[in-house]
Symmetry: C2
Subunit: 348 residues, 2 copies
């Protein structure tokens, strides 16, 4: 844990619910992480009324006013050009200037990623940043990255993702040596695209802060076969969305069939607490937060439609990564990686 309190910059204007979810979410996080401080960027006329409701949060927060915000439907390229002075950009710049350690926004994903890359810049030695998220599994939780920052990557990028994910797993799951799997179409050595097989060859040889398990398949994510699943952003994004889709379908069908007749409703009422526990167990709000890893500063994307609880999950991720010095630890391991012959000698 770092001794000085961590400050988190919040874009209050991102997301469908604006300052309300952001501020109520931050108040929730403060209960678990009482040493945090916040900078809240956005329209102060809309921020203060909510902040006044949470005196403890108010005491550790500063509000930085701006009228300008990036709309969620703006194209990232257009948003980037007109981003100066917007709540999202100002929050990111605060991390760049060292006033905050992390930024959390529920705003436009493409704009956030582009701005974070442009303003924060990749860590020395990192070629591509990645987006990581936490999935519920049969055994607990698994971290998956990249979920869409980069469609095309090479073997070396995937190896760096394995380092980024390993430190994340150490922080989030308190593991000493997290196991790492490469997402592929089969577990045999000969299968899959070149960049995935190339990464497997490197990970089998190098010294990095995790244990290389081998290839894993799409269903290994929820089986919890490994602690970290590493993928390019193409397959990773498609797997994430396909998984979300099945979750939504299951919920839809459950409601349709259970709540579609009187006995179903009665059964659901009697099993109320069981269903509540089930819902809590797989509540997507508990897993909200895509963390951009590999930049000079932490940036967490919250789902746009988040409520306070969901936003608090995203801020909670930022808080634990800040408090456990994620960036410094990654920087050290990437430096170590870049010095290893088995990583460097490859013609990638």
């Amino acid at each position: 844990m770092s001794s000085s309190p961590a400050t988190i910059a919040l874009d209050a204007m991102g997301g469908d619910n604006g300052p309300e979810s952001v501020i109520s979410g931050a108040a929730l996080v403060l209960k678990k992480h009482p040493n945090l401080r916040f900078q809240i960027f956005g329209d102060e006329a809309r921020i203060w009324p909510f902040l006044d409701k949470y005196p403890e949060l108010k005491a550790v927060s500063s509000v930085i006013h701006t009228d300008k915000m990036i709309r969620s439907d703006e194209k990232p390229s257009a948003a980037l050009r007109s981003s100066k002075g917007s709540s999202m950009r100002m929050a990111i710049e605060s991390v760049k200037e060292g006033h905050a350690m992390a930024v959390v926004s529920a705003g436009n994903t493409g704009a956030l990623m582009a701005l974070a890359k442009m303003v924060l810049k990749p860590l020395a030695g990192i070629h591509r940043p990645a987006i990581a998220s936490i999935f519920p599994t049969m055994k607990g939780e698994t971290i998956v990255l990249d979920l869409g920052a980069n469609v095309l990557v090479d073997a070396e990028n995937l190896v760096q993702f394995a380092v980024l994910g390993s430190i994340f797993a150490k922080v989030h799951m308190s593991l000493s040596v997290p196991s790492i799997g490469l997402l592929n179409v089969g577990s045999e050595d000969v299968k899959g695209p070149d960049h995935v097989r190339g990464a497997a060859a490197i990970l089998s040889e190098i010294d990095f802060p995790g244990h290389y398990h081998g290839f894993v398949e799409g269903d290994d994510i929820t089986k919890g076969t490994v602690d970290v699943v590493v993928s390019d952003g193409y397959a990773g994004n498609i797997a994430l969305k396909a998984a979300e889709g099945v979750g939504n379908l299951a919920e839809h069908l459950f409601k349709k069939h259970m709540l579609g007749d009187p006995l179903g409703i009665l059964g659901a009422m009697i099993a109320f607490f069981s269903l509540k526990r089930l819902k809590k167990n797989i509540d997507p709000r508990r897993y909200n937060g895509g963390v951009f890893l590999g930049l000079n500063g932490l940036c967490v994307k919250s789902h746009g439609g988040c409520d306070a609880l969901a936003f608090s999950s995203a801020v909670g991720l930022a808080a634990e990564l800040c408090e456990q010095n994620y960036i410094e630890r990654v920087a050290r391991h990437i430096e170590n990686l870049m010095e290893q012959e088995s990583f460097l000698s490859r013609d990638l």
Copy 2:
């Protein structure tokens, strides 16, 4: 519908449950498709006892004896070398020789795919075959291909998959103009790998037996946004497995929480019929069957752990594709595709 009865070749020795599931499954299919005939390949000493139970099936089936079978854990390359005279290979060869129109096996997937490609050969003009399956969605069903026959494909291959999938949708869902989406990481035109964007450009121009909808994302599969989702085998396989994984997780958690306390159990008992309908709605056995499309003959892979109901779904797919002349229709459309300037003029 073809006037002469279709014959389906069954590999009785594939799958964990061997001839029992295969024969009971075939008997189930015969009720819906009374014009079918079967050739059953495998150990007759194990086949006859089951066949004797189903006089109607027995009346339209011939048994072709062989002692030899391909084990499910054999490497495809090794299985291929020693495949001669095996039940799987003999069943495929029967399609090649015109004795049967389709082959169904629950055996070794890699061996089945390799043997089917080698023995049946791709249809004229088809560069790569694909594996297609049916997914349940919010609106009904969606066909997804390729689920893993080819990791790497080019734009032209994806366009051919769109043709293969369109005709499948016409047959299975009785649609006149099925809608086709390309699986990608976002719906904007500029996103995604070259082969996916290239296929989008061609599909927007050519005349083919479907309507090109545009890019779709992973969650569009279960949303039912389009009738056919086209992907390379890398992303398609990972999406399929990730989806299966979430389904398994949902079932696991439901049982854990509902059946973990007395009120949950009571609720589940009262809601028994609702839950039964729910289960039927998403029963993976109803969606069992990966169809190899694009070969000179139909080959359907059933899940290895299938029971009779699951195997009957795979055979049912083979039956409807045979009865509606899938292969002839695809051949005609591929010929038409190859004559179109907007397809051929591309440097692919």
